[in-house]
């Protein structure tokens, strides 16, 4: 697949804080690339640079064959941005919002109505096209935010946390819309905090930390190094007498997290140490209520690599 977006040694500094630090990656045509990273990892800065509204300090970005430094307007014409904040006018009908923003991209009057209709239908808002966004639910506003970004039928769509704070139905609809856009040939960059979304739709994942890519690949590729890792979660009546140092002595145990009535143990599955873990828990006054086990997921990879929880 030909490369549509190429980012090379990108740097951006804000008030002596290096938000993006030698960032390099490529995105192929028709690919959905998920960008994951803890708060402050540089995701939004990267997206705003790709959206051409933020000037990088250095580095080279080529989008659809255009150099970001020299051909900003050409790049703007081929991309659609779904910003994290709702970039819509609340007092103007949904249809007029989509029509106005699509018209700024030079869509001819002859095609405008059809494209607006397609965009509204694809996000499931066609029946509410005459209503003002101020009467919409959060999920509907998010969907309209997407319709405004896709009505001019861009080749590249950049989404910055488009599903923040919405109901599962709307989220599901948005994810389906994204997959449908990919099927029509769009290249999509999708930044999110939700691992399951990336696992569901992304062909490839970039994990960002401190402004640089620390891992990239498909979900399977990223989980590869962690296939022998298993996470046990124990629900106990009390953790008062339990100490991390006791569990850490068990062979194979890698990480321990004790909070309230839950004890989480990440261990090497090949060591078969479950019986030993349980007996230590019981002998230290923890009466087991329930337990479950989970094999390595993208979240495990993410937390291991970044050492941070998503929402610090």
């Amino acid at each position: 697949m030909p490369v549509t977006i190429s980012v090379h040694n990108l740097k951006k500094c804000y008030h002596n804080v290096q938000a993006v630090n030698n960032l390099s990656f490529t995105v192929s045509k028709g690919e959905i690339v998920g960008i994951l990273g803890p708060n402050g990892a540089g995701k939004s800065t990267t997206i705003n640079i790709l959206a051409t509204v933020l000037k990088p300090d250095s580095g080279k970005v080529i989008i659809a064959g255009h150099d970001l430094q020299k051909e900003k307007m050409q790049i703007k014409r081929v991309i659609g941005i779904v910003p994290q904040d709702l970039a819509i006018y609340e007092e103007i009908s949904a249809e007029k919002n989509v029509r106005f923003f699509a018209s700024l991209y030079g869509v001819s009057e002859a095609h405008l109505s059809a494209q607006v209709q397609t965009a509204l239908k694809s996000v499931g808002l066609y029946d509410r096209r005459k209503a003002k966004p101020k009467t919409f639910s959060g999920g509907m506003k998010r969907r309209l935010n997407i319709a405004c970004a896709i009505a001019h039928q861009p080749d590249i769509i950049i989404m910055d946390e488009p599903t923040v704070g919405i109901d599962p139905q709307s989220r599901n609809h948005i994810l389906e819309t994204i997959v449908a856009l990919q099927e029509k040939g769009a290249t999509i960059i999708y930044s999110t905090h939700y691992m399951e979304e990336v696992e569901a739709i992304a062909d490839r994942v970039l994990i960002l930390n401190d402004g640089a890519v620390i891992a990239s690949g498909t979900t399977q590729e990223l989980c590869k190094g962690f296939e022998n890792q298993i996470t046990y979660s124990f629900q106990v009546d009390t953790t008062k007498f339990m100490k991390e140092s006791i569990l850490s002595q068990i062979i194979g145990v890698k990480e321990i997290a004790i909070k309230e009535n839950t004890i989480q143990v990440v261990t090497d599955s090949k060591k078969n140490n479950l019986n030993e873990i349980i007996s230590i828990l019981i002998s230290n006054g923890c009466n087991l209520q329930s337990m479950n086990s989970e094999k390595a997921s993208l979240e495990t990879v993410f937390l291991t690599l970044t050492g941070k929880k998503l929402r610090d």
């Binding site: 705003n48 959206a51 051409t52 509204v53 933020l54 307007m73 703007k76 014409r77 991309i79 941005i81 910003p83 904040d85 709702l86 970039a87 819509i88 006018y89 609340e90 007092e91 103007i92 919002n97 106005f100 923003f101 018209s103 700024l104 991209y105 030079g106 405004c148």
Partner: protein
């Protein structure tokens, strides 16, 4: 033309803001009525009644204070700033973005004051110069354009509507005070009187009375040219200071 499309939608957004409509239409009339009533004992009936005097002063006062705020609202008000953000992502130049806010609010206030002057002259029956009210309207219109540019400039400098509005009011109130539309400046001594000539409002007031009562237009052209130059300076500062990412 993206510029005209943006102007159109900016104008529609202004029309959706009742506070801006009221402040540019009903408020000046209320001010004229209240201050005219309160000060009527200080005036005779001919040639200048309290209502004649307050009409001219309050229209100038409203343009001085409210027009700049109208532009800053259309630029960065909470309800529109997010939509404006999407314009920043679109293939639109930054000067088109700034100018569209200025032009849309200028069209809006031109319509408002374009209706208020004949309303005062022919419905309320106050003296706006009769047929010469067109010259007064032209003067007020040029002043409105300057105020629009002035409001946009403050948004570009301070990058937030709230900050722009609060800081902008300081020079505006100084101009209004020195212009003598609220209190008579000549009673405050020679020095204050001399300083008052730096206020554009002072010149607008002086020119307005010359047009209405003396049929004298000799200041009009020079004031319009001066306002055009001041507007250009504001636009230049807008161009230098405005960064589309400030919407983000």
């Amino acid at each position: 033309m993206n510029f005209l499309k943006i102007v159109k939608y900016d104008f529609i957004n202004i029309l959706h803001n009742p506070a801006l409509i009221i402040s540019n239409t009903i408020l000046p009339v209320v001010l004229i009525a209240v201050l005219g009533f309160v000060t009527q004992n200080n005036f005779g009936k001919e040639p200048l009644s309290a209502y004649d005097y307050q009409s001219v002063n309050m229209l100038i006062f409203s343009v001085s204070l409210i027009v700049a705020i109208t532009t800053s609202n259309s630029f960065m008000e909470e309800k529109v700033i997010r939509g404006n953000m999407r314009i920043a992502y679109a293939p639109v130049s930054k000067m088109e973005m700034v100018l569209s806010k200025i032009v849309s609010s200028y069209i809006f206030v031109s319509i408002c004051y374009g209706m208020l002057i004949p309303f005062c002259q022919y419905i309320l029956g106050v003296n706006m110069g009769g047929n010469r009210c067109l010259w007064f309207a032209l003067l007020l219109n040029a002043f409105s354009f300057f105020e629009c540019c002035f409001g946009a400039m403050f948004c570009c400098i301070f990058r937030s509507e709230e900050q722009a509005n609060s800081i902008m009011q300081i020079p505006l109130f100084i101009f209004i005070f020195l212009g003598g539309v609220l209190v008579s400046i000549h009673r405050l001594g020679k020095i204050v009187n001399e300083i008052s000539y730096i206020s554009p409002v002072k010149w607008i007031v002086r020119c307005s009375y010359q047009i209405i009562y003396d049929n004298d237009l000799h200041l009009l052209l020079s004031i319009i040219i001066s306002l055009a130059i001041l507007s250009l300076i504001c636009l230049l500062i807008c161009g230098l200071r405005f960064k589309p990412e400030e919407y983000i």
